[in-house]
Symmetry: C2
Subunit: 211 residues, 2 copies
């Protein structure tokens, strides 16, 4: 039995008190992974941005709003976990300046400068101790396998799951599980529950039973 | 019996295939207004952005994603309606350029130029014929009553509902119903169902029975 951290859902980065940047991540992949991990007897902590779905009642859920909050909750929680799965789609850009009042329309264009938010999975990859493991997700529209492999290396992940934009807010997913050097361990397609069960069975064999 | 158009929920404006600008509008105020209108015997068409709530089954619902789509659906639907209530929170800025591929992170800040989206309620106010009425909603963080009154005039609304940012994604609301010149017709606080019933009863007396 392992204790596994799963990040899930989107995060929000506000421009002003009303408007924000985000993406359509539904949390369904995170929920399916949590269900699959619990079915295998593991303990699950989910750190999730705002979603409309329900997570398994056996999982502990820590709700957060912004990428910074996800990073803080994830690094604190990871200390007591054997592994982490980064299934969230954290908003990776944030406005350099956040307006304290709602920006009023004037008829003119406005220019906003966006800076990168901290990378949650990369931080987990950086702080992981011997015996701990980190699995990332890569969502790309072009050169998916190549870019996922680069992310695996840069973020010090043990494995990475490569998927495309059709995964977002969908019941189904089509993924490649990649190992170091971009080796394709398994290609999996189907509903997110099937994909999650196959992935967890691979994580169990390749990462959990080894530790 | 009137046929009433209600716009509801947020809209999205994409920067690239994954990231978008939006707000936390839940559609709950629109759903409560639809329920209240149906209770008074009216026919309701809801044009709604992506929301997690359920609208009354007696209402016709037209789902849209962007502000442009909301505008097209609203102007087409308004032709067959006696009145329109603009309870939506359409995303009012859009990126001037939309990337066709997911923008890759480079470590550097990026600058995006935002232009205003078309104003759905202002367009309905502009095209309304004698006998038709339009009610807007104004959400402001500062000078709420003054800014709402300016919007009422600029958008050719018959009445405007002024509320603050705490209304967003909340079960409760606290509003002022304003008439021409900023006259306060009624201040209403409570859950959105109560607020919607009071508002509809005012619209019935001041707008619907007159036409």
């Amino acid at each position: 039995m392992s204790r596994i951290l799963i990040t899930s859902g989107p995060t929000r980065q506000y421009l002003d008190p009303v408007r924000y940047l985000t993406n359509a991540s539904s949390g369904r992949m995170g929920a399916a992974l949590a269900e699959a991990a619990i079915d295998l007897g593991h303990e699950v902590v989910i750190i999730s941005g705002p979603v409309a779905i329900d997570y398994p009642s056996a999982a502990q859920v820590i709700p957060i709003l912004t990428t910074d909050e996800m990073l803080d909750a994830a690094t604190a929680t990871f200390a007591d976990c054997e592994g982490a799965i980064g299934a969230a789609a954290p908003c990776d850009y944030m406005p350099k300046r956040v307006a304290t009042e709602k920006i009023s329309k004037t008829g003119d264009p406005i220019s906003i400068e966006l800076i990168e938010t901290p990378d949650v999975v990369a931080m987990l990859g950086q702080i992981k101790k011997p015996g701990q493991w980190v699995v990332g997700f890569a969502l790309e529209t072009e050169d998916q396998r190549f870019r996922a492999t680069v992310k695996l290396q840069k973020k010090h992940c043990d494995l990475i799951v490569s998927n495309g934009p059709t995964a977002i807010d969908s019941d189904d997913n089509s993924v490649e599980l990649l190992g170091p050097g971009g080796r394709v361990i398994e290609s999996i397609s189907g509903n997110k529950s099937h994909v999650a069960n196959r992935l967890l069975s691979q994580f169990d064999a390749l990462l959990i039973r080894k530790t």
